[in-house]
């Protein structure tokens, strides 16, 4: 059990990079970008093929990120230039990527059993267990990415990107081309997703055509869990941007912990996607139901008050 939990934490951190990508589109741009399922697998496939081909594992991960960025840019292009609704644009790219990923690998999965990866190299250097190494590398990359995102979204271009998700009309009136800001955000987002796919591929030592399936739902679930935690925890400031980013990664870790626990309790691994869907659906339903309940209750209370008079 302990080992399973440790492995869940390291997995959660590495997937957390993907969650940061989803955070950019879902929270800042207010778009549910379905490219993610495809670009995550794309990152994994590109990374696996390069590593097997003898490319340096760090370069392979960077290439995975670059591939993800291209995928995001395609979605961005379809959405902004041709005005295809964001969800549909994402689905189109995602479906297209399935075939592209198969072409890249030439088969439906690629094992990296004998090849060096970032994790095996660091493990050999330090002599630490694979889970600890994954955790250290994951935290290192996550901190770096959070710092970079914090910086970027504080710049003039980054502010314009944030404002685009907030109020597009206003941003255009202030002289910003919202097509460009959306393109930047989608590219950046899927770059992180591809990077995460590459890291996961190296840590689990294989890439699989289906590794990205449901990634968007995991991302949304992690963001939702992170937000709830951040609201519950007394010391946290939800409104600070760095805090929100950190919460997303923490949410991812918690998601994988929950997953590990229910799997240990004997749940079928294939049912996990259903559980993820239920978590996200619940998180989206609860505020709506709560508000309706409040409205009804207040009305009833008002009726009673009137009756008493």
């Amino acid at each position: 059990m302990g080992l399973a939990l440790l492995s869940a934490v390291s997995q959660g951190i590495l997937w957390g990079i993907m969650v940061l990508g989803v955070f950019i589109t879902y929270k800042l741009l207010d778009i549910a970008d379905l490219t993610v399922d495809g670009s995550f697998a794309l990152g994994g496939c590109v990374c696996a093929v390069l590593v097997v081909g003898g490319v340096d594992p760090v370069v392979a991960v960077l290439a995975a990120m670059l591939a993800g960025m291209v995928a995001g840019a395609v979605t961005g292009f379809l959405h902004t230039v041709f005005e295809i609704p964001a969800i549909l644009a994402g689905i189109l790219t995602q479906i297209g990527l399935w075939s592209i990923n198969l072409r890249i690998m030439g088969k439906s999965n690629t094992p990296l059993l004998k090849n060096d990866t970032i994790f095996s190299v660091v493990g050999d250097l330090t002599g630490l267990s694979s889970n600890t190494v994954a955790m250290i590398v994951g935290v290192g990359v996550a901190v770096l990415i959070i710092a970079l995102l914090y910086w970027f979204f504080g710049t003039e271009i980054g502010s314009a990107c944030r404002a685009t998700g907030n109020n597009e009309a206003m941003v255009r009136a202030l002289g910003v081309n919202t097509k460009v800001t959306k393109l930047i955000a989608l590219t950046l987002s899927n770059g992180l997703v591809g990077l995460s796919g590459g890291l996961i591929c190296e840590s689990q030592k294989y890439a699989d055509i289906g590794m990205g399936t449901g990634a968007i739902v995991i991302g949304l679930a992690a963001i939702v869990i992170g937000e709830v935690l951040w609201r519950v925890l007394p010391w946290a400031k939800l409104h600070s941007f760095g805090g929100r980013l950190t919460a997303a990664v923490v949410g991812s870790v918690v998601y994988f912990l929950i997953r590990a626990i229910v799997l240990q309790l004997g749940m079928d691994a294939n049912d996990m996607k259903l559980l993820s869907a239920i978590i996200v659906a619940l998180a989206l339903c609860v505020p709506v139901v709560w508000e309706k309940y409040q409205l009804r209750r207040n009305y009833k209370l008002a009726l009673r008050d009137e009756g008493g008079r």
């Binding site: 970027f152 504080g154 710049t155 003039e156 271009i157 980054g158 502010s159 314009a160 944030r162 404002a163 907030n166 109020n167 009309a169 206003m170 941003v171 255009r172 009136a173 202030l174 002289g175 910003v176 081309n177 919202t178 409104h239």
Partner: protein, 264 residues
């Protein structure tokens, strides 16, 4: 300053919902003109503003601003010349961002955005000073989210944002219509103050005939996509609401007054 020549705009052309919003519209503004625009529903007032701002492309004609032909420029490209305040107080600001962040974005209107910091320290004092001029106490809430402000506060902030970098033309599209009378009066006072201080060339759409007569140096009445009455100077100053209603009936053969205009 602004020259609008034979501008046409038809919405849903060729369908049963065809609407000729602007018909061969000509309009010239000199530098420093403050023009108020009135007219009934569907007269084309907002369409005119949106055409100048580039929200939709025009079908025909030209729009020139300070010698630059902006007819075909995209909305964000012409933004560098224009300050805009919308009817909906939610439309002019980004609710989830801080007051200072909103101002900093407005300060950079028309400039190339770079990877420099979105808000620099040196800007803070200037913004606090300008906010203090609004007299709403916003200078003490620089880092508050704009979403926490009232409609009137947001509209005053939008007005400040629109004029922070001096625009060649200020477009006010019924910017007080969604506010309660007291707040509306306050925002109008601020408008007059800012416009006269910076000698801004201004177009203001309003449904309030008193405001239209009282403010600015020229008044335009629109009907069915055309300008039907254009008055300036002393003649405008001596106008009454009754004159305006009468003028409208004369030209259009119908009644201008909808309830909203009469009641305000």
């Amino acid at each position: 300053m602004l020259t609008v020549k034979r501008v046409c705009k038809t919405f849903n052309a060729g369908t049963i919902n065809e609407k000729r919003a602007l018909v061969n519209l000509d309009l010239h503004l000199d530098a420093g003109d403050f023009v108020t625009i009135i007219g009934g529903n569907g007269a084309g007032k907002s369409t005119l503003m949106n055409m100048i701002a580039g929200v939709y492309p025009i079908d025909a004609g030209t729009i020139e601003l300070d010698g630059v032909n902006i007819s075909r420029l995209s909305e964000h490209s012409r933004a560098k010349y224009l300050g805009r305040v919308f009817q909906d107080p939610m439309m002019g600001t980004a609710a989830d961002m801080q007051i200072i962040e909103n101002l900093a974005m407005a300060r950079r209107r028309g400039q190339r955005r770079t990877l420099r910091w979105g808000v620099t320290h040196s800007e803070k004092d200037e913004y606090a000073e300008r906010l203090a001029e609004l007299g709403l106490g916003l200078e003490k809430r620089l880092t508050s989210k704009v979403g926490l402000l009232s409609g009137g506060q947001r509209q005053a902030l939008t007005l400040l944002m629109a004029t922070l970098t001096e625009p060649k033309l200020l477009l006010l599209d019924e910017h007080t219509a969604a506010l309660d009378p007291k707040t509306a009066a306050k925002v109008l006072d601020l408008t007059e103050k800012i416009v006269s201080e910076h000698k801004l060339t201004t177009l203001m759409v309003t449904h309030n005939m008193n405001d239209a007569i009282r403010m600015g140096n020229r008044l335009i009445m629109m009907h069915e996509g055309s300008i039907i009455y254009d008055v300036a100077g002393d003649e405008k100053k001596s106008l009454t609401v009754k004159d305006l209603l009468q003028k409208f009936e004369e030209v259009s053969g119908g009644e201008l007054a909808n309830d909203r205009m009469l009641l305000s």
